[in-house]
Symmetry: C2
Subunit: 460 residues, 2 copies
């Protein structure tokens, strides 16, 4: 419970209508995609950067903790007010596309803009914003930057950090800072934007984002390749890329997930479909698209591909993508609760990583269907358990821990795109040495000495 005097002070800053502590608001701002709940003590809707600055300065002075929040669509609890205090909700007012600079091909947006709204807006202007997290329909760009969101197109086009040219942000003491410029190159001063990206709202509150845009590629096709086994498919992934293929997306679905799709969606696939690779290629000229398709097809065939389909028009492309887009809901045939992690390994180790992950599943008696962004080595591992069975839940978490250890031992990472937040905080010691953790703590302290910004996240 926050003292009433604090609420009064907040109302003085942002107006009576933009501060709430009623039960309805507390519930509405208590959850995210992890389905874990923590109620805040109050929700504040800042109207602009100046509001953010004043609120932070006040909270810093009075040791009130703050959790910045976009759409609350994160998978690791980054937007959960785990220690109560204030939720700073950016989606109500700070949701404007401020400028599309056609001449310099960039967009300036507020953090509450929904990813897909920007994508649609710039595509109408012949431009292209590539980062497309699965949450693109509802996640905000502020959240995307804070978690360094990836997506399907990362194989060719990279992730959110590759598009952030500049940020404006507010430090916990209320200081407004600019980081980066509306220029392609800028090496003056520390790369503050670089450290704010993926910092999960623990260092500063982002108030404005300048994003690089690309010309929209003119031609594209989709492909689906069928492999007899996951091993074949995973070998095909890194070998085709090393052979010079540069697909926009290269998604995979493993044997268990393929089986679940057949069962749940009735999708017709070849008898021997043990694994699928699905993706897009694009280019400015049709010959580049043809080159990409040919490079993929040749390399896939050398690695046991039994069928290679190419979709020419929108309808065919949607059919090819149907399986991938719906796989997440299908795997529930293996268990009522999905313990879903987004580990990432060097691409050449995908075959071995999957073999070992299945072994861990077998040891505990769980099905572990996997799918995801094979083109960049980022796979979604789903340990399927009976959610009503305490023993299974506990074993499931043990399996996850073993998977994390395996991945780190292979030179991989706990998270390719979801972040650490609360859910993966207990595993930070697997991934980082005590010296590395100390450096994180030192960085946190430099930005936020009173630890008011999103405390408890990332193990900090």
């Amino acid at each position: 419970m926050l003292d009433k005097k604090y609420l009064k002070a907040f109302k003085k800053i942002v107006g009576d209508d933009n501060v709430y502590d009623d039960k309805a608001h507390m519930i509405a701002y208590s959850y995210d995609a992890t389905r874990t709940r923590y109620e805040p003590d109050a929700v504040i809707f800042p109207r602009d950067e100046d509001d953010v600055s004043k609120i932070l300065a006040y909270c810093n002075e009075h040791a009130i903790v703050i959790t910045p929040r976009g759409a609350g669509s994160g998978f690791t609890g980054g937007a959960l007010p785990a220690n109560g205090g204030i939720v700073l909700a950016m989606e109500k007012y700070m949701n404007k596309i401020i400028e599309i600079d056609l001449q310099n091909m960039l967009a300036i947006v507020q953090p509450g803009v929904i990813n897909m709204d920007l994508q649609k807006h710039v595509e109408e202007l012949g431009l292209f914003y590539p980062p497309d997290p699965a949450s693109e329909q509802y996640s905000t760009l502020g959240g995307n930057v804070s978690e360094n969101a990836g997506g399907m197109r990362a194989a060719k086009y990279g992730i959110t950090k590759d598009y952030v040219m500049a940020l404006r942000a507010v430090r916990p003491n209320g200081d407004i800072i600019r980081a980066g410029k509306r220029t392609i190159k800028d090496v003056a001063g520390y790369n503050v934007a670089g450290i704010l990206i993926a910092s999960e709202g623990t260092l500063a509150v982002i108030t404005e984002i300048t994003l690089k845009l690309l010309p929209k590629p003119q031609f594209a096709k989709s492909y689906m390749a069928v492999f007899p086994s996951v091993d074949n498919a995973m070998n095909a992934v890194f070998k085709s890329l090393a052979a010079g293929a540069n697909p926009v997306a290269m998604e995979f679905i493993d044997s268990l997930a393929v089986k679940a799709i057949k069962e749940k969606l009735g999708v017709e696939l070849p008898e021997d479909a043990g694994a699928l690779l699905i993706g897009d290629v694009d280019g400015n000229v049709t010959e580049e698209v043809a080159f990409q398709i040919e490079t993929l097809q040749n390399s896939f065939k050398e690695n046991g591909c039994s069928a290679f389909l190419v979709a020419e028009d929108t309808k065919e492309r949607e059919e090819i993508w149907y399986a991938r887009r719906n796989v997440s809901q299908c795997v529930t045939v293996y268990g009522s609760k999905k313990l879903n992690e987004d580990i990432s390994v060097p691409r050449s180790l995908l075959p071995e990583a999957l073999k070992e992950i299945y072994k861990i599943g077998e040891k505990y008696g769980f099905s572990v269907p996997c799918f995801g962004h094979a083109g960049d080595g980022n796979i979604h591992v789903n340990v399927m358990v009976d959610g009503s069975d305490e023993k299974q839940l506990s074993d499931g978490h043990k399996a996850i821990e073993e998977i994390f250890q395996l991945v780190v031992d292979m030179g991989g990472t706990l998270s390719g795109e979801h972040g650490i937040g609360l859910s993966k905080a207990p595993f930070m010691d697997i991934a980082f040495s005590k010296e590395e953790s100390q450096l994180f703590a030192d960085i946190k302290k430099a930005f936020d000495p009173n630890n008011i910004l999103n405390p408890g996240k990332m193990g900090l």
Copy 2:
């Protein structure tokens, strides 16, 4: 002068043969490309990361300042031991290409590897490392990372930071840290690699670099476009890019520089050649190369281009590039000393920026020939003065300061690729607010509380 007991301690760490304090070494390690000189008290050649760790820990304990150094080819004094102490010279031992991982398309190198050595090595394997600073023949990758070096190919392929996947580094207290992974995606923990890039050796000593490689594009052509005026050429730059062109390089040479080239090199150019754009396009298929050439040509013609030449083979390409490669030495026809700055502005403001820069030159009576990386908005501004005339030198520096103010007012940056170092440190207040400078100081303190690493650089 360092106390002899310190030298003894260093020799115990790295061996007698790797610590020097004789005059010859002090002179050899006193300079960089700024032609400013500061002698250190000793030069140490660490053999490996362990040596670096022990030396740093010792210096941290005894408050001995350290300047890490690669090739000493920087333009802003980043590698100069401005406060004496130790130069930590990485080029002698820590100069190995540790691994080329063909399957994951990445290189792991020590900081003392020369940029061009890596480029050549990976090109023989069909791969491609794009960042190509003008110093590529001698600058080291550790220096490239520390300054976030750019180059000609940045227009299409980006700069050093776009290729750094992971770093190993040593903090001033001797702690060895890893930042990033051998994976495309990694969002676990703070983006420490992101803040080490461009930190000019002030936060940690980089001991290992993992760099992303690309498949080598199969086809390329070079172009040269002649414009009647700088204004035409600068308009053509941003308009062609907004029209969808994606050239590898788009370099410009202004009227004064063109005149100097004609005079000094006797290069034949059309009578009305007021400004040139020179560059490369590439692709996996010839049609993509043709598409790029056509897009450029159409857009250039709409902006007054009077001649457009395309070079097909290596010999023709070298001819086209001859003017650009030699322009730097030609502009000395306008003055014995060149005050050379590498400002960067949003590309659409290039025409206006150049107009204003020439006005500043006129005001002081100096020729200011400009050339550089127009495709990314990064231009090399050369205020030409008589180096033996104190008044001219002093006025020249005033002109530079006015140019910096102009650029910052236009949303640009003091440095597109050379860094701040010592030379631009006096101008940090033009570019950054006191809150931003405070944040830089806080970051510095978090990494290096005793201020032993490269003190005085970046105004810190």
